[in-house]
């Protein structure tokens, strides 16, 4: 166990799985960086440095730079996954899924089903996501609701370094296509990360704290903000549970319902766009299956239904913060059930 950044934890996961299994290969734009140049090799190690050092350790046959043609190389990852490899393919920003969704949605996700269970497609698609880096509308989306909507995909949204590592290892070993989304503002986050190899099952929520007054569900960068809110509320004597489901698909419905039932008051803090988003998805689950236990409306704390703006003053207003989460919890606490 030692302190590592989210980035380093991911890098370690890739190293360990590539060392353990020859079939694991890594594909993406600039994942080494410098091909064809007269300077240093592996100059980038990916746009965010996550794949740095893999080239030196595993060579260019297993660490493949690509032209800027996401459809072809994401599709190639899917085709390779059908035929014996276990590719980890990176698209730099999840926003770029627009140019290659077909290979994910209609190909990788559906092979096993369409072909009657005759094959597996063990690939991982890694991408950064999220707002807060002043990257504007085309480089800041969350988009996991899109993937969550598509049957056949698994979707992982880690919130801290040790989860990131364990979930990535599990994703690489998983025989289904996995979308693995890394919030760009988490890369420098430091945490305790075991040095050894470990896998965290997909579909198991992590409970960060238990409090009986209300539950806050959150993914990715929102988890820290939920914790922050919980700390503030604790000072006022309001004890909230904070639950990070970690994967949106499969979803740990059991833990979610358990906490919804136990606390009866629910806030879902999510960075994705609100319409047909994850906050709505979890809310609807609870409204159908834990209705009886609800003591208050289920509150969603999300950005508005707008693209992500560039200017700091706007982007700060866009993203839900701890204050908005705490406020929602307070509103749910105040709510008095009228007699029906």
């Amino acid at each position: 166990m030692s302190k590592k950044s989210f980035r380093a934890a991911l890098n370690e996961a890739l190293h360990q799985e590539m060392a353990a299994d020859e079939r694991v290969i890594v594909i993406g734009e600039d994942i080494t960086g410098g091909v064809g140049g007269d300077g240093v090799a592996d100059a980038w190690g990916g746009a965010f440095g996550v794949t740095k050092g893999l080239l030196g350790a595993y060579g260019p046959d297993r660490v493949l730079d690509t032209p800027i043609t996401e459809s072809s190389f994401v599709g190639a990852a899917a085709g390779a996954a059908l035929t014996g490899l276990r590719p980890v393919v990176e698209i730099m920003f999840v926003d770029f899924i627009g140019v290659c969704l077909d290979q994910v949605m209609n190909q990788a996700a559906k092979f096993r089903y369409m072909f009657g269970g005759k094959t597996t497609c063990p690939m991982v698609l890694r991408a950064t996501f999220g707002s807060g880096a002043r990257s504007a509308s085309q480089h800041s989306q969350a988009l996991y609701p899109l993937f969550t909507h598509i049957p056949g995909l698994k979707v992982v949204v880690p919130s801290n370094p040790s989860d990131a590592k364990g979930l990535l290892i599990e994703s690489i070993r998983d025989d289904d296509p996995v979308i693995f989304l890394e919030h760009k503002l988490l890369y420098d986050k430091i945490g305790e990360v075991p040095d050894g190899v470990y896998a965290i099952p997909l579909g198991e929520a992590r409970v960060l704290r238990e409090g009986k007054d209300a539950t806050v569900f959150a993914y990715g960068r929102m988890v820290d903000r939920a914790e922050e809110a919980a700390n503030v509320l604790a000072r006022d004597g309001i004890k909230v549970s904070v639950v990070d489901p970690r994967t949106t698909s499969p979803l740990d419905t059991e833990t979610i319902l358990e906490f919804a039932e136990e606390t009866g008051r629910v806030v879902i803090a999510d960075e994705a766009s609100p319409r047909c988003g994850m906050a709505a998805d979890i809310s609807a689950l609870i409204a159908e299956e834990a209705f009886d236990a609800l003591k208050a409306p289920i509150l969603k704390v999300t950005p508005p239904h707008t693209p992500v703006p560039y200017a700091p003053s706007l982007e700060e207003a866009y993203m839900p913060d701890a204050a908005r989460i705490a406020d929602a919890v307070r509103r749910t606490m105040k709510y008095q059930l009228s007699v029906k």
């Binding site: 290969i25 190389f73 599709g75 014996g84």
Partner: protein, 322 residues
Amino acid sequence: MQLTREELLEAYRTMKKIREFETRVNAEAQAGRVPGSTHLYSGQEAVAVGVCMALEDSDYIVSTHRGHGHSIAKGCDVAGMIAEILGKETGTCHGKGGSMHIADFDVGMLGANGIVGGGPPLACGAALSAKTLKSGAVSVAFSGDGAFNQGTTAESLNLAMVWKLPVIFVIEDNGWGEATSAEFAVAGNIIERAKGYGMRAEKVDGLSVSDVYESMRQAVEYARAGNGPTLLHITTERFFGHFNGDVDTYRSDAHKADQRKNRDCLVRFRQTLISGELLSAGELDEADSAIVTEIDVAVVAARAAKEPDPSTLTTDVYVDYE
């Protein structure tokens, strides 16, 4: 390279099998027994057969929406195929896929594809597996003239060159993408477009199974030797409308009659075999009737087979789906 009598007979058999299969699929469709729609391959048999004759079982093909011919040529079981098309549990995909999603991994058939241009990236991936795992296999992407325009195809040509992949792009140019002519839709020239990527490219007469085979054989040799991809631009004929419900009024009756009369690859091959005294009419007739019987048995069995049980609706979405 000279083909042996046995090889020629086998090629003829497979072409005939495809033709007969499609004739029966069409009849089943007209009788209302095909739940979905199908895209018939009739007229293009020499392409699938010439291409697949040059491949081993361990080589890969990635197919299209018009995939029956490719599947049969690569060795898929026709009984499973027809059952699949009729939506039965005995089908190749247990009824989940239908005509457009037939796949058989045991013979290297990685799947038909309902998305035009969906296949070439996948074929690059299969070639990447072959290269990385040093299996010696090659991979083939079948695409139509219409699919050739898709960005995915263009990207795949580039990627195949950049990664020097053992992949062969087989462009089956039947002159039409649905009701739109290639003359309208394909700007410039397919061979020149491939050569623009620095790719080895060759135009082939798709009415001649031996021409297709020979060009393909060389492309496979080139790829196995580690030299990278080839594109074959193979001209061919689509006898039916785009799909079984297409009345095909955009081509004149004269054109269609001429096609059947003068540009039928199966008829040509038969004539060549007989006139070259390679095989006798009797031998070919015998092959024909064996095939008719085989397909008939398959059709009858498929009709009698059960529909998949509704409980299987939610299986095989994930490996560990519950």
